[in-house]
Symmetry: D2
Subunit: 117 residues, 4 copies
Amino acid sequence: MASEREQAIFEAAIKLGALYHQFVGTPVSRTTASSLETAIQESISLQPYVLEVHVSIDRGQMEENLYGYSELKGTMLTVDVVTRVGDACCHARLRRKGDYPLMEIIRCYEEPQNTDH
Amino acid sequence: MASEREQAIFEAAIKLGALYHQFVGTPVSRTTASSLETAIQESISLQPYVLEVHVSIDRGQMEENLYGYSELKGTMLTVDVVTRVGDACCHARLRRKGDYPLMEIIRCYEEPQNTDH
Amino acid sequence: MASEREQAIFEAAIKLGALYHQFVGTPVSRTTASSLETAIQESISLQPYVLEVHVSIDRGQMEENLYGYSELKGTMLTVDVVTRVGDACCHARLRRKGDYPLMEIIRCYEEPQNTDH
Amino acid sequence: MASEREQAIFEAAIKLGALYHQFVGTPVSRTTASSLETAIQESISLQPYVLEVHVSIDRGQMEENLYGYSELKGTMLTVDVVTRVGDACCHARLRRKGDYPLMEIIRCYEEPQNTDH
């Protein structure tokens, strides 16, 4: 049986894999990057066990094509996601490493749920 | 050789096919539908020959799963896009017809470009 | 009202926009390119008004990442699609032009449907 | 620091999230399901740490639309993936549970790598 910590890891990774393949290829520019960040962030927030998520798109990598826009590439994305299963939290990240969009576990920790309410 | 009118039609259809397959499957809820509409709209606006675009997601079709959210289905989308190539404009639409997400040409028309500036 | 020829153009463009945004981002290598070509081709063939479709992925553009594979980029794709609405046919193409994955109308023509049966 | 077992879990989940959002929405029918299964399977096999993967699409859920085809839905997919990081393996699965496409850890185990070579 997987522990809560392992399940938190599992859930965090699902989110990174999912958003990557959902949104890569979307037309984007410096002007529209912000609305795309918001949409990605909000869509991930809906998914199970997500405690926090932050999405940032690197405008510096946007090379304009003939028509003045780019497409979202995996390496443009920096995403931090924190999941919680029971008391176990996992902070995972997608971030460019060289030419590769690396996904990795940053930290796992226990955080007792507030049960005052 | 394709006429400007035909090219406007061609370009409008590309946009509808593109956004459909880019965004279908995205987690969405009544709370987040609006940011997703904005992101889709802005991403299409970047593409060549787009004059206007309007995206609306039908909240009524959102059936919550176990975890309280839905996924964007093609039939949830109503999208109007107007493209212009030279003086020729094409207004095309994606809209649910029964269970099918129908894409169709609404109207083609000539609109001389404002060349005062 | 749109003519059959215009509708054939419209339908061809939908297919190009659709497949592009459905499949871009898929992990691919020289070894697997052929199964991906087949899957794309067969999935487009299902869509309305498609008479013929041919998909080819440029292995030459595959630069291996750290882990020995690539992701499908729009510029890797050469796709020819022929649609038919009534007697009107449209042959459209997606093909790299410089760094841009260009979609264009190649030719429209009339071809009376075989009504012997 | 994450253990090898935790990393195997992380990697398995990435693959499930990724393929889900890459391929959901693809036009599919009983005739083409098999080529789509192959393409999904081969594309996942390329990704890091994947030892085994098996993809199956439920033909029984395919309800034909007006034009005689369906679109791939998440609940149609049964995917088993086994990842290995060092000696640690993780077997994870995507499978319909009611109306939800559930992803879960099936089993983690140690399997010493063959180091004869």
